[in-house]
Amino acid sequence: MSGHPSLEARELNVGYAGNNALTLSLLAVGEGELVGVVGANGAGKSTLVNSLLGWSRGSPRVSGTVWLGGSRISNLPTHERVRAGLLLVPEGKLVFGRMTVEENLTGMRTTPRNDDRRTYSIADVYDLFPRLAERRYHLGAQLSGGERQMLGIARALRFGPRVLLLDEPSIGLAPRLVSSVLRTVRSLVDAGLSVLLVEQNVRAAIEVVDRLILLERGRVVAEGAAAAMRDDPRIAEAYLGAQAG
């Protein structure tokens, strides 16, 4: 244990064209912890994970400080934050469609480093996702939504993440696949990985996370242990209402 959280962000502010999209005073993900971030569409969930990496398809204005394993990374460009071990599996397009599954998994440098990060080998990720082994010579574009999600996570694991950021992994997946993907994420966390999981599917997320953060209009409105948050009326009414009824 280093004593530092695996990931920490302070005074994070993100704006698009003068409009504030996210205001966050503190975010921390501990070692081997699975933190869920939930909220409605437009609450700032994707903005949060993207800004931690300094990555965006738009041109946001980002301020604040981000530390990874105690080292400040907010002054680094995206690719260097990735090399430092902050890996994002983004929402939407998350694999290279014109490359095979195997090429997606071998297209990056995964040389051994002098640190405690675990780099997953090709065999490791095929063990974790046997479906990918079966589809190894298929193009990324030929994969189903669930397979793409598996490939996105597998590619991140190949890099040896300190912290894995997952942006809406359940989008477009059948319920059975959602719980399968989230169970795999949970097993990775139990093996020591730190994960920040952004999800709209609160019911599925709350089953696997240690801690839950509720975002509304770019601000944290509730935060706590998963068990306690399940009973929080803002979560129960707005997101688990159907189940409660």
């Binding site: 990555w55 995206t78 690719h79 397009k93 290279f96 490359m99 090429e103 990056m108 193009l139 590619r155």
Partner: protein, 288 residues
Amino acid sequence: MNLSQQFINGLVLGHAYALIAVGWTVLLGIARLVNFAHGQIYMLCAFVAWYVTSRLGLPYLISFPAAMLMGIAVGYVMQRVLLLLTLKQDLVSIMIATLGFGYVLQGTAALVFGSTGQIFETPLSRAEVYFENVWFTYQDIAIITATIVLFTVLRYTIKRTHVGRLTRMVAEDPHLAQLAGIDVRKVYLAVFAFEGAAVAVAAVLVAPRTPILTSMGFEEVIVTFVVVVLGGIGSILGSYVAGLALGLFTAFFGALVAPAYTTAAAFAVLIAVLVLRPGGFAARAGEH
């Protein structure tokens, strides 16, 4: 009509076209950029090679690294200047800026080398071969050999090596490539430098076939444009086939109809191919 000779002429011309176009093919395929200064870089590199051999009296082989250094330097400087536009993929501004760069290069070359034509002779261009009823030079053999070697190595590199996978990732989605830890700016710089180096090799090999002028370059841009579009944007194999086809077409059309209308006819073929096969010769997903 000596059809065998026309076939040889077309073969050499086709390989020359493919060699001139290969840098742009990579630039367009990976960075999605066009460089209308391509022809002027060709001209500048041809003059550097001519200066090294004719004025400094150095061996022809030395002119390759000299011209390549110039090509890489120009490509690097252009990309440094255009980097912001490149990252934003502001294609219209890039087109205009590269056109401007071309004219700057042309003006600079005219100041340095003068505006009179020069003959860029090499030991290979003087070595002629007569076989039955056909004639060619060792320079022609060098063009064909270098083109085949360069295209083979390039295709292998793009398809099979780690560097190739990185560049394909950037080509497909530069934003997603950043999430794979790739420094996209460096890849763009490398691609521009490669374009400069490749067009330099083409200049050193192809320019000795005709007198060189600082005002040349436009025809090379047109030829390159036709080759990369016909070949399918970014397709290495497609460019080779398109270059070869254009060379044979030019030779036979020039001999059978009239050389003056060759460019117009080539563009007519280009339009027809684009209408009938919009992706070019290599209109197959994932083709390189």
